[in-house]
């Protein structure tokens, strides 16, 4: 049909041949179908968590201590809510300053130096370390070997902090990158030292993004179970001390889900809805904080 090396189907015929149209149609069906298939489980999970959780959640479920016998109805998950909040708060206190400082080094000092590139690469790799390994690691150095400090809130928070650290570093670095160089140059031109530029000019400009990135890392940590399995121990009531044993919502879900008894299953679904609402609230707050700071800056 043609003498050029262009595939014959492409040139010459006015209308696309049925075979080509069919292939294109199949590809489109694949793409649309993928979206639908992926969203089905999302819909199912959301439906079940809400439907099964809402019938369990009551004022007493949210405020009472965890029952001694999980087979019978009654009791609540208040200690687990308090536990999750303290664990993530302590983990954030440990991981966020460290992560932001590391991000400052990477973006403001390190640039493309070998040290910075290695740190950046390893932070990426660290996000891939399984959370159960993080949990075992803290159990090794803090709980049952190494320092032999036993199960505690602090041990759990350490494990969560290890998990959050690389996420905070990478998200903060992205935010620092967004600060226009002109601001740094203006500050340099005024004779400010680098640390003054960083703390007075760059950080305030990037704070909204850094805070929301940190909140998202907290939300992620709040849902983690594996790092807590061998670090926080067991607790039925909340003790507000760092060296006391603790419990958390994911741990309650994990324990109750494995008991084939109605009361335990109900408690698992109630805890799941509570956890998802908590994660969702943290995420929304992160967005709001970001938006609020952002408007103040402008």
């Amino acid at each position: 049909m043609t003498t050029t090396s262009v595939p014959t189907g492409w040139v010459g015929d006015r209308s696309t041949s049925p075979r080509r149209r069919f292939a294109d149609g199949v590809a489109s069906v694949w793409m649309i179908g993928s979206v639908i298939v992926a969203l089905i489980p999302l819909g199912f999970i959301a439906f079940y968590v809400v439907a099964k959780g809402i019938s369990v959640i009551s004022w007493s479920f949210l405020t009472k201590n965890i029952p001694i016998i999980s087979d019978s109805a009654g009791g609540g998950i208040a200690p687990a809510i308090a536990g999750t909040l303290t664990l993530t708060l302590v983990a954030a206190v440990l991981a966020v300053p460290l992560g932001v400082l590391a991000a400052i080094y990477l973006n403001e000092y390190g640039g493309e130096r070998p040290v910075a590139r290695v740190i950046r690469f390893m932070a990426d790799v660290m996000t891939g370390v399984p959370s159960i390994v993080m949990g075992l690691f803290v159990a090794m150095i803090w709980v049952s070997a190494g320092l032999h400090r036993g199960f505690s809130t602090l041990a759990g928070a350490l494990a969560l902090a290890c998990l959050m650290l690389p996420i905070v570093i990478r998200s903060s670095e992205e935010m620092l990158k967004l600060v226009p160089d002109e601001l740094r140059q203006a500050s340099d031109a005024l004779g400010a030292r680098r640390w003054v530029t960083v703390t007075r000019v760059v950080l305030p400009a990037a704070i909204a993004g850094i805070v929301s990135g940190a909140m998202l890392a907290v939300a992620r940590a709040a849902g983690e179970t594996a790092p807590l399995l061998f670090t926080i121990g067991v607790s039925r009531k909340f003790v507000p001390r760092l060296d006391a044993q603790n419990t958390a919502l994911p741990i309650q879900i994990w324990n109750n889900a494995q008991e084939p008894v109605r009361a335990a299953q109900d408690r698992a679904w109630g805890a799941a809805l509570t956890l998802i609402v908590l994660v969702f609230v943290l995420t929304v707050i992160a967005r709001l904080v970001a938006a609020r700071f952002a408007t103040q800056e402008r």
């Binding site: 489980p41 959370s131 190494g146 879900i253």
Partner: protein, 327 residues
């Protein structure tokens, strides 16, 4: 604030230049920041050191026997990790088989096919899959998914379970808690990660190139095959490997639905065990038995090494693909 000089510049800015303490503060600030960055390397090194040290009794005794041993029998002090390495590999492979075509399909939908109005909501909804805690996936799969899954497995097993070779994989007596169920749950959990990175990779191809192909009369599919797929192949491989790294280490959801089986079993509708799920289930009771405990920590060391290798390779591949796209 301090006094401001006639030029409008705060005094402290000007005077700090002349004070030697300013240099000192600047250096120590930089040092502290560098220290924070190096903490990442320190933590990774400490993980490697402490877990290996605690697992040393088992590695020292018979490292090769531990990695290749097929018998896991704590009461008789036999610790072979291969059944769990196998379980992890099979569950991850099943997850990849489902998640890869779906994720790339979604990425193509949002980047090429979707009308502007649909693009953002679809991205947002798929990202929501990543926000669900893994224990909630596990709870859902255990309480809701398992019994209908078992019915489906039984149907499949009845139809093709008798065929010689396929029967080895799809036959047997299906169980709701199985390698297959674990693979399906892992697939759902992998989709947001693989989709997000695939989208980034696909976005590196310039619109001009795509328009050129379309202007030649190519259909959308032909355009994708001619000028997109050949150039994003390595990037997509990286995306898939990152998803696989996640699947290998996923613990809680898998532990709830994979069942329990200390033997290598070719039937994917049978219960299995992954490295992470065994650690989660058995570490609590193993604490008092040194060899048992060391063996479980040994599994963690293997898992750490596997995920490290997969992640490093994946980052290297995607990094190279991005650099190439930037040229």
């Amino acid at each position: 604030m301090t006094a401001v000089s006639s030029t409008g510049v705060p005094d402290e800015y000007i005077s700090s230049r002349s004070r030697s303490s300013g240099v000192w503060v600047d250096r120590s600030f930089r040092g502290v920041a560098l220290g924070a960055g190096l903490s990442v390397l320190a933590i990774l090194a400490l993980i490697a050191y402490f877990t290996t040290k605690q697992a040393w009794p088992i590695f020292q005794f018979d490292a090769w026997g531990f990695v290749t041993g097929t018998r896991w029998d704590p009461t008789n002090n036999k610790f072979g990790a291969l059944p769990f390495i196998y379980g992890t590999a099979v569950a991850s492979a099943i997850a990849l088989a489902f998640a890869v075509p779906l994720s790339i399909g979604i990425a193509l939908f949002t980047n090429e096919l979707a009308p502007r109005r649909l693009k953002k909501p679809v991205i947002y909804l798929v990202d929501l899959l990543a926000a669900i805690p893994s224990v909630v996936y596990g709870l859902w799969a255990l309480a809701v998914l398992e019994s209908p899954a078992q019915t489906v497995y039984e149907k499949i097993s009845d139809t093709i379970g008798k065929i010689p070779l396929l029967g080895r994989v799809f036959g047997g007596v299906p169980s709701g808690a199985s390698l297959m169920t674990a693979g399906v749950v892992l697939a759902i959990m992998m989709i947001p990660i693989v989709t997000a990175i695939s989208r980034e990779v696909l976005a590196t191809i310039s619109q001009d190139d795509k328009n050129a192909a379309l202007a030649m009369g190519a259909t959308r599919w032909e355009m994708l095959r001619a000028c997109v797929f050949p150039r994003v192949r390595s990037g997509l491989v990286g995306a898939v490997m990152l998803g696989m790294g996640r699947a290998l280490g996923e613990t809680i959801a898998v532990a709830l639905v994979i069942g329990s089986n200390q033997k290598i079993d070719s039937h994917i509708f049978h219960a299995g065990d992954s490295m992470a799920s065994v650690i989660a289930h058995e570490f609590g009771e193993a604490a008092s038995q040194p060899r048992y405990r060391a063996a479980l920590i040994g599994l963690a060391v293997l898992l750490f090494v596997f995920t490290l290798v997969v992640n490093i390779l994946a980052r290297w591949i995607t990094g190279r693909a991005e650099r190439r796209a930037a040229l």
